[in-house]
């Protein structure tokens, strides 16, 4: 599913990823750990294609439409409501029965009551949950989650655990996290970035 | 030398001047590069000695 040989990425003079090899097969869960600034987010961005490698190469044999990417930000418009944001992404990803899928996801992540509220008024935790809805909206085969637990309260963390346990085995996952405790039992591969 | 001849030679001189200016700027660059290489070799030697 994901292959990388001699993968490297530099931002101007600063090298973030150096000579990395990877092979993640379908259904696996890769856990990426490492301190801040060690290149976890960069690696995920390289996988999803937001960043191009400056050395080596990386290949993901999946079309963009089958990949879900959760970044630090929720990648949603502050001025629009939760529903409008998900509706936009639903159309762009050509999701069948868009309304029902969005309704179910909002319900599941406890955002149904606030669906007509501007995302600008959301707390950090609510925005993260909206991000999760956005990522799961089109049922991706590959899930790239960058710090899924950051900024979440206890109830939200169990939601993320459910997502992981449900997806493990069925989908391919790459999770970058500070607190790997939650994820380590499910991980089939681990990568520690210095 | 009529005024127009002065101007023509001025034009030729301008071209020459710009090319020379370019060469001079380029020599600054070369000396900077040389300093950098010297620095790096010294750094490498110290690294190998350590």
């Amino acid at each position: 599913m994901i292959q990388a040989q001699g993968l490297g990425r530099r931002f101007g003079p600063k090298r973030v990823i150096r000579d990395l090899d990877l092979d993640v097969r379908a259904g696996e869960l890769l856990l990426v750990t490492g301190p801040n600034g060690s290149g976890k987010s960069t690696l995920l961005a390289l996988m999803v294609g937001l960043l191009a490698p400056t050395e080596g190469e990386i290949e993901v044999d999946l079309p963009r439409g089958r990949i879900g990417y959760l970044a630090h930000e929720a990648l949603v418009y502050k001025e629009l409501t939760a529903l409008e944001n998900l509706d936009l992404y639903g159309r762009l990803y050509h999701v069948a029965e868009r309304r029902e899928t969005i309704g179910a996801l909002l319900e599941r992540f406890g955002l149904w009551e606030v669906r007509h509220q501007r995302v600008g008024a959301f707390s950090r935790g609510m925005q993260q949950r909206l991000g999760l809805c956005r990522v799961l909206l089109h049922g991706p085969e590959l899930l790239l989650l960058d710090e899924p637990y950051s900024g979440l309260d206890a109830s939200a963390r169990t939601l993320v655990d459910d997502v992981l346990t449900e997806a493990a085995g069925a989908r391919t996952l790459v999770v970058a996290s500070h607190e790997p405790a939650h994820v380590r039992p499910l991980a089939t591969q681990a990568l520690a970035l210095a | 030398m009529t005024t127009s001849e002065k101007y023509v030679t001025a034009a030729y001189l301008v071209v020459l001047a710009v090319v020379l200016l370019y060469v001079i700027l380029y020599s600054f660059k070369l000396s900077r590069l040389e300093r950098e290489v010297a620095e790096l070799t010294e750094l490498a030697q110290r690294r190998r000695a350590a």
Binding site: A52, L88, R118 | -
Partner: protein, 212 residues
């Protein structure tokens, strides 16, 4: 035709954003009228028609610049552009939707500017309206691409005018020419040629501006 469905979805979002925040369009309207008023005072009483036409085009150019400066701010603040770039749709759909949005804003601003110009300065002929519409296409097409470029750089507000003005000199020439010369056909044709060339070039290269 999912391409146009994507463009429609993106354009719908842009209109929704503008209705919600209501900041770009009012600013453009106010700007173009105040610019015309300022120009009135900057023109000596015996100024020729060409001078006032020229000033109208300058006002339109900078109104477009104002609108373009706002074009990608929403996408940039929350890094939403990454979300759009990751969607399976063709990235030029983002450019087309945004250009249409800018075009609509420019059209509305001109719907106010041209009557104001007729009031303050002189008659507004059909060739001026035709030239303005044709010029809008070029300004929106090229401007949107340059706005995306500027959005990807550090000095956004500084960079956009520098990138924009040299590229739109032909639009001013075509526009002013079509209004002043008695046979505007050639100038309108030139504007159409400019729109065609630069719309295709912007459409084809937008992918490389937003993605690596």
């Amino acid at each position: 035709m999912t391409y146009f469905a994507d463009v429609a979805a993106l354009a719908r979002k842009d209109i929704l954003l503008e209705l919600r925040s209501r900041d770009t369009l009012p600013a453009m309207l106010l700007f173009v009228v105040s610019a015309l008023v300022v120009f009135h005072f900057s023109l000596p009483s015996d100024a020729s028609v060409t001078a006032s036409t020229g000033l109208l085009w300058i006002a339109l150019l900078f109104t477009a610049l104002l609108g373009l400066g706002r074009a990608f701010t929403a996408e940039r603040e929350q890094r939403v552009l990454d979300g759009l770039v990751l969607a399976p749709c063709d990235r030029s759909a983002i450019w087309l939707a945004k250009s249409l949005g800018v075009l609509v804003f420019l059209g509305v601003a001109e719907a106010v500017a041209l009557p104001a110009y007729a009031l303050f300065f002189g008659p507004v002929g059909w060739e001026l309206v035709a030239a303005v519409l044709l010029a809008d296409l070029g300004l929106a097409a090229v401007g949107t691409l340059l706005a995306a470029m500027a959005a990807a750089s550090r000095a956004r507000e500084l960079l956009l005018p520098l990138l924009f003005l040299p590229l739109v000199i032909p639009v001013v020439v075509g526009g002013v020419g079509a209004t002043v010369v008695d046979d505007p056909g050639r100038y309108l044709g030139f504007l159409a040629l400019y729109d065609l060339i630069f719309a295709i070039l912007s459409w084809a290269s937008f992918e490389y501006v937003v993605a690596e």
